[in-house]
């Protein structure tokens, strides 16, 4: 699939994306990640208030065949989770950058998100 990579997001090597929204950062998984996973059937979301550490596991995403860890793109506190994924995990497949967002994080270091990959660096990683 030739999904375009949104220019306004930041990315990790683990195929998560991050989007700055004012003081918080919304995170999810990329189109490439959902394509590789296949049909998503279950998402284990972090609890509100969880302290995330950059690069550490913060949730689990399961497809029909595989279980994959979600890794925190940045350190911070979980202030919102996408509860819709509990009932309808397949929106990660249909809209990974929109309705399929996973969590909203209040960063502990506002600089951190800027150090993630930009769209062209992430795109190069996929080649």
């Amino acid at each position: 699939m030739s999904d375009s990579i949104p220019q306004n997001l930041k990315y990790t090597k683990e195929h998560e994306w991050a989007r700055v929204e004012g003081k918080t950062v919304v995170v999810g998984v990329t189109a490439h990640a959902q394509e590789a996973l296949g049909d998503v059937v279950y998402v284990e979301l972090p609890k509100l208030g969880t302290q995330l550490v950059e690069g550490k596991q913060f949730g689990v995403i399961e497809s029909t065949k595989a279980v994959s860890d979600l890794y925190a793109p940045i350190s911070g506190t979980v202030v919102k989770v996408n509860d819709e994924l509990t009932n309808n995990p397949s929106i990660i497949n249909s809209d990974p950058y929109g309705a399929g967002w996973i969590a909203e994080i209040e960063p502990s270091d506002a600089e951190q998100v800027g150090k993630l990959l930009d769209a062209s660096a992430y795109g190069a990683l996929l080649k």
């Binding site: 296949g38 284990e44 397949s90």
Partner: protein, 361 residues
């Protein structure tokens, strides 16, 4: 070295995602496991199962020779019928689970799992008394056509009267001009056929089925859908739900074990003894009542203590529930019994349910 079926190129052309499956380069999905699963439940799906093996016994005494090797009884069926059976070890555990086709008392064909082809052939060769088995695995390709529209699709491509070919029966004939064994069998819980043809004819047959099935909404289906379809039926997968360490009685497959068969079979003594002593652990089907998906290898807990292990599990695409199978102590095997499945350190409650999970209306 990775082995390829004659349909390998056809899968790649269809955009399949290929994976290594017990040494075979096989399609796990073409587009979506769930969409392929649904196609089989509501229309028709095609599966390349050419990686399965075939072992042939030909000659006077073939039936008697095979009957000593398998748990089911070929003497109780007619020519043109097949049986599901176990090849059992001396302890009553599974060397493999197979389908044995009775062409005549002098011609029996056994279909074995891809993962066990070499092991099974060596095992049968070492134990066959009378007729010597021949490994035909490389001569045959096999395509499964499964789903409520499978019958119509195959019937349109053959002059054979398929209405005369009941479940677990087979005939020989041409399908789309390809000489085939046409078997009313499958691994999905839906009506359908498994067609055995010469390896060189596989592409012609596959292409003809895909093209003729377009009005039916036919989909090529991969191993992912094959697994979720069989799990909803609680059909055992060798290496997951049955293996050499669990007996046919523990697996709930007593119905393919004919203890009163004249001449007996390998593994019979152990099963007779186990039946007399009582079966201590059983393979059950369960649903999670908490959140999560059970997976192969997850511990089964009762009051915090490990009492068993999940052998297969998935989010059932048709039953829309997290379902699984596993061996538990007999006391926990009755419908309504509860236990926990340990998922990433959490104890998630589960209940034993009646199987198959899929209830046909």
């Amino acid at each position: 070295m990775t082995r390829r079926t004659p349909l390998n190129e056809a899968h790649r052309k269809l955009g399949a995602r290929m994976v290594d499956f017990v040494g075979w380069d096989m399609p796990v999905q073409y587009s979506s496991v769930i969409a392929e699963h649904e196609a089989v439940r509501t229309a028709v799906g095609l599966f390349d199962v050419s990686h399965m093996g075939e072992v042939e016994f030909r000659g006077p005494g073939a039936l008697e020779t095979v009957n000593r090797l398998i748990s089911n009884d070929l003497a109780r069926i007619q020519d043109g019928q097949a049986v599901y059976a176990g090849l059992l070890n001396d302890l009553g555990g599974f060397v493999d689970d197979v389908v044995a086709y009775r062409f005549s008392p002098e011609h029996i064909l056994i279909c074995v799992n891809s993962s066990n082809r070499e092991k099974d052939f060596a095992w049968m060769k070492a134990r066959a008394e009378g007729v010597t088995p021949v490994d035909r695995g490389d001569d045959f390709a096999q395509i499964a056509i499964q789903g409520p529209k499978a019958f119509g699709l195959v019937q349109r491509l053959t002059k054979a009267d398929l209405s005369k070919v009941g479940t677990y029966r087979f005939t020989e004939g041409e399908v789309a001009g390809v000489k085939s064994i046409i078997s009313r069998t499958g691994y999905t819980g839906e009506d359908g056929f498994e067609l055995y043809c010469a390896t060189d004819d596989a592409v012609k047959l596959w292409d003809a089925l895909l093209e003729a099935g377009q009005p039916d909404g036919v989909k090529a289906c991969g191993l992912g859908a094959r697994d979720s379809l069989r799990t909803e039926m609680k059909y055992a997968l060798y290496g997951n739900d049955i293996d050499d360490a669990h007996t046919a009685l523990e697996a709930g497959l007593g119905w393919i074990v004919k203890l009163d068969k004249p001449g007996g079979f390998i593994g019979k003594d152990a099963l007779v003894a186990q039946k007399a002593a009582g079966v201590q652990r059983k393979l059950v089907g369960f649903e999670l009542t908490g959140a999560g998906i059970p997976r192969h290898g997850y511990p089964i807990l009762k009051d915090g203590a490990r009492v068993g292990e999940v052998t297969s599990g998935t989010q059932g695409p048709t039953v829309k529930k997290p379902i699984g199978m596993g061996y538990v102590p007999a006391a926990l095997s009755t419908e309504g019994s509860t236990f926990d499945v340990e998922i990433r350190g959490r104890a998630v409650p589960a209940v034993v349910v009646k199987t198959p999970f899929l209830k046909k209306s």
